[in-house]
Symmetry: C2
Subunit: 239 residues, 2 copies
Amino acid sequence: MAEAIKLFQYNTLGALMAGLYGGSLTIGELLEHGDLGIGTLDSIDGELIILDGKAYQAKGSDGKPEVVEVSNDVKVPYAAVVPHQAEVIFRQRFEMSDKELEERIESYYDGVNLFRSIKIKGSFKNMHVRMIPRSAPDTKFADVATRQPEYTMENVSGTIVGIWTPEMFHGVSVAGYHLHFISDDHTFGGHVMDFIIEEGLVEVGPVDQLDQRFPVQDRQYLFAKFNVDEMREDITKSE
Amino acid sequence: MAEAIKLFQYNTLGALMAGLYGGSLTIGELLEHGDLGIGTLDSIDGELIILDGKAYQAKGSDGKPEVVEVSNDVKVPYAAVVPHQAEVIFRQRFEMSDKELEERIESYYDGVNLFRSIKIKGSFKNMHVRMIPRSAPDTKFADVATRQPEYTMENVSGTIVGIWTPEMFHGVSVAGYHLHFISDDHTFGGHVMDFIIEEGLVEVGPVDQLDQRFPVQDRQYLFAKFNVDEMREDITKSE
């Protein structure tokens, strides 16, 4: 039997959206656990994209989208990575909306009760992304959410990376797809809102286990008061 | 730094209560991951108690409570175990209800956002437990729940073992305490409903990580349709 594939999740999306924006795990430590994934940076400073074992930050600075490589010492408050191994691979040969492509991807699943890794390398007629703006720890996520820069790029080649989460883990993560994008030339990327794919190669990877970590030495996390129902609704609304 | 303590959870309480009663992990495999814990047996045949690295089954057969040791080849549909290491230890010197003792235990927590292991060895003025009755896989949990045998034992010495779960993981597990009991003479035990402790030694152990496993080769699990909101409510009602 092949080695079990673990989804490594640091902290929870719920805790992040409850305002715990301070980074406490380094990119270097994160990359030991996977080569594909998503997350955000310290002070929710943009979108984290892990592709082929390298970390990139997509942010909207001065009204322009920007992508930079992230060094190993930068800290993250939330991230999820997996040692991606394609188990289902198919070529998408004709134009589809994100919703149509997602349905096609799900048609290859053996049920919806396991996590999965997703990688889609292709040409996109358009790609609509957003980047979370760097925010002070006491800023409410609902306020942050209203002022997230959004960009649409037309005719862009690049890769979507991300995680599929079973509904039971909504709150811990976001149920369904959580996808980030980075262009091939590393100048454009972010949290995927919607897209039209022209053609591409879609990979779905298995996840056998969830390796859930907590910021066990972060006083803010330990003593945070979470309203979990509200948290789940917030994630549904904003993700 | 000491080695991280992992809570090993096999399957989810939500999936169990959605009717997936078939065992798919052996007790032998389970015990490799912890020496203290809780769960149930194949066909939800009673309550599983893991104490000091040994597995016991508490069941209500023919109207009598019974406890038997479980062999390594028996399979479980759901269980959670941890290599328990006491981090907070206190002696409870006077009589308290379960609610009072739970409040006292929580007063020693550094926040409520981490899992914890719980072990309470003591004398109990009374101990009220229930045992889930062996059921066919197509039996609805709501129906099973209405016919769970309950027993109260007076003046009994024994040990409570279990897990504290942060609210964010409700559904995956049950938020708050999930406790099972076994008497010192191994003749009485079950899922703890309520109790009055006379005196005892209380141990709380840290959990740094959640090692969440799934029955990845169980077709029933893979293709089950879960109503997650209903599932969370059911757990709240019945646990």
